[in-house]
Every structure is written in C-alpha cells, then in structure tokens.
C-alpha cells in the first residue's frame, strides 16, 4: 500500500514542464529588457524617484 502511494509521487514530468516554462518566461523577459529599442525609455524610468517629488514626468 505504502509502495503504491509513494509511486504516485513520481511527478518527474511536472518538474521538466516547470523548468521549460520557467526558461521560456525568463528568455522572454531578457528579450524585453535588453531590446535596444527600450534603452532611452529605461533611462527615463530610472530617474523617476529622483524627479522632484511634485514634478510630473513628461
């Protein structure tokens, strides 16, 4: 019985699926982040906390 119960715990495929899902998501975000197109925008975003507290970013 116990053996049977434990055999139900071989969720190896689930782990592989999780890994693949994770890698794909991760690559997606790297693509977004390092897309040259966004560089200027990011610099602007990075300055947000430094803009004086009552000045609106244009």
């Amino acid at each position: 019985m116990k053996q049977e119960a434990l055999s139900a715990f071989q969720y190896g495929d689930l782990s592989s699926f999780a890994m693949i899902l994770f890698m794909l998501t991760f690559i997606g975000f790297i693509y977004f982040a390092y897309n040259k197109h966004n560089k200027k925008f990011f610099d602007q975003m990075a300055r947000m906390p430094l803009n004086s507290d009552n000045e609106v970013e244009s």
Binding site: A5, A18, M19, F29, Y34, M45, A46, P49
Partner: protein, 715 residues
C-alpha cells in the same frame, strides 16, 4: 504634461500624516519585537528567565517575538515606505483617507490582539501563522482594505508608468493575500481554537510554501521595492540598471514561490517535491544577486557617501546583507548542507542576517531619511546615527557568528558516529550544554542591536522636537487623467508597465504556476493512500494532550520528524513516514531541535519520568534548559470540547467512528482515570506524593500524547 494629453491639471497634497503614523508604529513595535527577542535569547542561555510563568515561557515568547518582528516592525515599516513612495511615484494622494486610517488602526489592533493572545497560548503552532482564526479573518479584512486603497491609488495615478518599486508592491499585495488565505484555511473548534483543513504532509507543504514566501513576499519583495526607491533617493543617483531590475523582478517573483520545500529536505516529503524545492532555491541565487548588484552599484561614482552619510551606510549595508542571506539560502537548500544545518541554530543565524541586517538596516536607513522630511526639519544628529550604525552592525555580527558556530557545533555533534557505527554524543543534552556559552554571546549581540536602536529613538525624538509647529503638506500638480499605456503606442514591457490590471494578473500567474504544480499533487494524496491501512488516529485523551502540546508551543524546541539520515535514525529510531502524521492538525514536524526529536518518544520512559520532567526537567536531566511546566498539574483538561473537536476531525476525513465522536469526552475521562491510576502506582512505588486530581489535570493528557508518539503505526 499639457491638457491635451492628460486633461486639466489638478493640485492636491500628499497624505503624509498616515506615513508618520506608520513610521511611529514601526519604532514602537521595533522596540517591543527586539526586547521580546532578547528575552527569548536569554531564556535559552539561562532557563530561569522563563520565570515559571506560563505566559512567559519560551514556547509562547518565541512566536510573540517572530510575529512582532515580522508583522509589527517590518509590517509597519513596509506600510510607511509604501504609502510615502507610492504617492510620490504615482503623483497622487492615496486613493482614500478613510481606507488609509482603517488600514492603520486595523493593523495595530491585530498586533495588539496578537500580543495578548500569543502569551495566553492561543496558537496554531504553525510558524509565522500562529495567530488564531478570528485574527486570521481580521488580517484578511485589513489586507483587502490595503489592497483596495493601493490599487485605487494606482488607478487614479497621474503618472503614466509604474516605476519598478511599484511592481514589487503589487506582487507583495497579491501574493501575501494568496498565501495567507490558503495557509489559514481552518475550521474553528472554539472561540480561539481551530484545526487546519490540511493535515500532516499537506499541512507541512502548505505551511512551508507559506512560511518561505512570508520571507519572500513580506520581507523581501516589499523591501526590494523600498530599496529601488530609497537607495536612489538617498544617494541622488538613478538605479544602476533598470533592465536588470526588470529581470530581477520577474525572475524573483516566478522562482521564489517554488522554494518552500527546502524547509523539508530529507524528511518524509516526496523526493520530487524536495528536488523541486532545492533546484529552484539554487536558481534564486541569480536574481537575488542581480538585485543586490543593482542596489550596490547605484552608488557608482559616489562611493564617498558610504563614508560620510549614515543613511547610505545603513541602506548599502542592508543590501549587502541581502546579498549574503540570499547566497546562504540557496547553499542551505542543498540537500547535503541541509542535512547538517537543518534543525540547528545556523538557520536562526541565517534568518537574523536577513531580518536584522537586511530588513532592520533598510528600515533604519529609510526612517533616518524619511523622518526629517516628514517633520520638515533636519536630523538631530548625524553622528548619533553613525554610532547607531556601528553598534548595530557589531550586534548583528556577534549574533550571526555565534549562531553559525552554535549551529555547526550542534550539526556536527549530532552527526558524529564512531567506527562501530555508534553515536559519539548519544546524550542529546551534551549537544545542548556545548552551545550555551554561544547563547550568551548571541544575547550580547541582541543587546547591542537594541542599544543602537535606543540611540535611534533618542535621535528621532530630538528630531521631532525640533520640527516647526506648523505642519506643511507637500503638494503635487499633475493632469487629472491617468494615462493608460494602451493609448500610447509603447511596446512590450513598456506597455505592460502602464497597465495595472494586466500587470497584476501576470504577477499573479507567475506565483500561481509554482504554487499549483507544487501543492496540487500533495493535496490529492488521499486518492492514493488507504487511510485505514495505516496508523490509528489519536484517542480522545491523546488528542486533548496534543492540543496542550500545540498550545504550549513545544514545536519551538522539538521536532517530530526523524529524517531519512543514518545519524537521525540511529539517534531517534526509524525515519518518520508520511502515514504517521497524516491525521495531525496542525502538523508538528518542527524546524528546530533545541531539544531532541519527539516523534518516537512514546514508551521510552515511564509515565512518572514525564510527570517529573515536565514539572522540572532539571530533576532528571541536570543540564537541561527546557522550561518548567508546573501549571500542567493544576489546570484542568477540557473534556467538554472533545466531542466538537472529534466531529470536526471526522468531517475532515479522520476515520473516527460515530460512537467515538459521540462519546469522545467520556472516553477521554476513562482513559485519564486509567492513566492516572498507572501513574499513581508508579509514584507510590517510588515513594513520592501523588498530585491531586491527576485524572483531571492537563499533565495526564499530555503524558498520554507523549506516550503515544511513534506508537501508532505499530502492528
């Protein structure tokens, strides 16, 4: 900025009163949390600090300390920082002042309820989720109030894009809600008592999914948000790499949620879940260090600030501690390292590197920055702030090093086996006496940390004294209409940053995937196990005893999970199985062994041994540091509630017959009479005097439970 793009301009003031309130609450509860922590440290160094009072024993004080540190100190700090920075980053006042104050007072009321109920022994004995069900409900309500207020603010924001700090806040709010709700699914069995719907291994997995992510989403993501705002603020430089922050955010949110099982390595948890927990914990190293580097390098070209500005000192040291803790965490998640470190004080050291160094110092830095701004004045003394920094840092280092040394000592002594395959330190208490000097060093470290904090309180007091009498609220002028990213033609992540709802749903999905994959298979466990073929559930008296064990918080020192490791098995007996704890609500596998594992203590000693040991452990084990529990011989067993409890257990799937449920109280009374008679015989044989009302006092129920531990699976 023109009317054409955002509608008419509106001028409004930021709500800084609420920020001030949270700031002061942080300071007050910081003091409470630290002092209670010091008391706990002293109790382990010198047992009389338990004062032989049930309200002050270590089993009740430690949960009070952890809850105060996490939810009262760090919680109020997070709220102060979020309310302050969000308004400025979103260029708007908080959504609704009434909600802000409901959030504030609601949270303080919860803290008060915790401060009263934990010492009284109302505890679920699940780490960082000890608070009983009425308080759990209150937490949910207050958290929803906070969420509505925060998302309302996001929606009425007058800044198109959400800065990275805001994403971290969003992830925090969503994830903490999910964690709290799932880990708090419990059935009340009394005004201040409940059983979780999860049992045994399920409860363990859900609890550590919660417990680990309390660290991740209560002590990490919100503080990272604060880092991304206050480090640039204090140093006057933008964050090192905004790109890195995007990766940091998504990788962290996605990976963190998986790491919970690293708290259960080498236990009865199925291997696949252990492996998953270990692998994801190792992966966490990358985004965590990405975040640390991002924080540290923000100072590039301005390193001199580290020398001259105590605020920057605090913030940057905090980020360094974040880096150290997130390096150590994955290391501890490696199965072989865990076999050495788990259950030892190394973990306590690890936690405090994070809590004192990362959360504590980041909070202090933030508050030194905020308080003069909020009160429209200058910090009373930069010099005192620098003194605070050095004293505090020395305290943390003493704390960390002593606990690391203590943990390694314990771990190595527990493992030590000679050529003949025997334990070199068979007597557990030897491994305890060895580390007591280190407990004193730890207490000294804590004392220094508090001393530094007292200097801060004085500094803050003097600063506020110097504030101008007239309050001046900061105002912002910005277009009324929130500009929705959808209309702007931005692509990719830029668009995402403009869309609150989409962004929040994606964050939710990021945490949901890991949670479901990890927990679902375990929740469906009942399909595969024929419960009747396994252990017997607790008898009514044993269950009554178990409830006392839970109430007294014995789990703070005792595990009930013998790992599948040779030295654990030699010391404590056969490794614990899933089946053995399958009916346990809550599970009591524990996370620390200041005392020996109790999973198989049943039958090891006569009843009388336990009676005397619980009354005063030193009577039997001279060097013991376990507290005394003399009140157990006075307080009565609650027979009356047993029928209700058993019917709840039955409805949750524990195989009790209707007869047992209907007569649970009577059965327990009979069991107690039998046990008391056996005990009386033993006492008389030993020539002692028999305590009054043995058959009705709690000690009898507790002994019944202790004697049944590990005996249930025997055929």
């Amino acid at each position: 900025m023109s009317e054409a793009t955002g509608g008419p301009l509106l001028n409004e003031t930021y709500d800084d009163k609420i920020v001030k309130a949270f700031t002061l609450a942080t300071l007050v509860f910081g003091l409470v949390a630290f002092i209670v922590g010091l008391l706990a440290a002293l109790q382990l160094a010198y047992w009389p600090f338990n004062f032989n009072l049930e309200w002050l024993t270590f089993g009740r004080i430690r949960p009070l300390h952890t809850n105060a540190a996490i939810f009262a100190f760090a919680g109020n700090a997070i709220f102060a920082g979020i309310y302050h920075s969000s308004q400025r980053l979103l260029k708007t006042r908080m959504f609704n002042d009434t909600l802000s104050w409901a959030h504030f007072w609601g949270w303080q009321a919860i803290i008060l309820a915790a401060a009263i109920s934990l010492p009284l022994g109302f505890s679920q004995s699940k780490e960082y989720a000890e608070l009983e069900w009425p308080i759990d409900i209150a937490i949910t309500v207050v958290w929803v109030i906070f969420a509505v207020n925060f998302f309302g603010t996001l929606i009425r924001r007058r800044e198109k894009h959400m800065y990275v700090a805001i994403w971290f806040y969003i992830a925090t709010i969503i994830t903490v809600a999910v964690l709290h709700i799932f880990n708090s699914l419990e059935v009340p069995v009394g005004m201040m008592q409940s059983y979780p719907v999860w049992a045994g291994i399920q409860d363990a997995l859900v609890q550590w999914w919660y417990g680990h992510n309390a660290v991740a989403f209560f002590l990490t993501t919100p503080f990272l948000g604060l880092m991304y705002y206050y480090v640039p603020k204090a140093s006057g430089r933008p964050i090192y790499s905004y790109r890195l922050s995007i990766i940091h955010f998504w990788a962290l949110v996605f990976i963190y949620i998986w790491a919970g099982p690293h708290h259960l390595l080498n236990t009865a948890l199925p291997d696949w879940a252990q492996t998953l927990g270990m692998v994801f914990s190792l992966m966490l190293w990358a985004p965590s260090w990405g975040g640390m580097i991002n924080g540290l390098l923000t100072l590039r070209g301005a390193w001199h600030l580290l020398r001259t500005d105590p605020i920057v000192k605090f913030l940057i040291t905090a980020v360094t501690f974040y880096g150290m803790s997130t390096f150590e965490g994955p290391l501890l998640s490696i199965k072989s390292v865990s076999s050495l470190a788990h259950y030892t004080d190394w973990i306590i050291g690890h936690v405090h590197g994070g809590a004192l160094g990362w959360n504590g110092f980041l909070t202090f830095g933030m508050l030194y920055f905020l308080i003069p701004k909020l009160w429209n004045t200058k910090l009373y003394s930069m010099k005192l702030a620098t003194t605070h920094f050095w004293i505090g840092l020395t305290g943390i280092l003493l704390y960390y090093i002593s606990m690391m040394a203590s943990g390694l000592t314990q771990g190595l002594m527990w493992q030590a086996i000679n050529d003949k395959g025997q334990l070199i330190y068979p007597d557990f208490v030897q491994t305890v006496t060895e580390i007591v000097p280190l407990y004193w060093v730890r207490a000294a470290g804590g004392l220094l940390f508090i001393a530094g904090f007292l200097i801060m309180l004085y500094n803050v007091y003097m600063t506020i004294q110097s504030a101008p009498a007239e309050e001046k609220a900061e105002a912002v002028t910005a277009p009324v209409h929130p500009k929705d990213g959808r209309h702007t033609g931005d692509g990719g992540h830029r668009k995402l940053e403009g869309m609150v709802i989409t962004f929040s749903i994606l964050s939710f999905l990021a945490i949901a995937v890991g949670s479901v994959i990890e927990i679902y298979p375990t929740l469906s466990l009942h399909k595969y196990i024929d419960k009747n073929a396994m252990v017997e559930p607790w008898t009514p008296l044993e269950q009554a005893g178990r409830d006392i064990y839970v109430k007294e918080g014995c789990y703070v020192c005792h595990s009930q999970m013998i790992r599948k490791l040779p030295f654990d098995v030699i010391r404590f007996g056969e490794a614990s199985t899933i089946e053995e704890s399958i009916y346990n609500r809550p599970f009591q596998w524990g996370s620390k062994r200041t005392g020996p594992d109790l999973a198989r203590v049943g039958g090891k000693y006569p009843h009388l041994w336990h009676l005397r040991h619980m009354n005063n452990p030193r009577d039997l084990v001279e060097a013991s540091l376990m507290p005394r529990y003399p009140w157990l011989e006075k307080k009565k067993i609650d027979f009356y509630s047993l029928r209700r409890k058993f019917s709840v257990m039955q409805s949750l799937g524990v195989p009790y017959g209707d007869e047992t449920v209907a007569n649970a109280d009577k059965i327990a009374e009979e069991e107690a009479i039998t046990l008391a008679a056996e005990l009386t015989k033993e006492i008389q044989a030993a020539g002692g005097s028999v305590p009054e009302n043995l058959e009705r006092t709690q000690i009898t129920a507790l002994i019944a439970y202790l004697q049944a531990l590990g005996q249930k699976g025997k055929k």
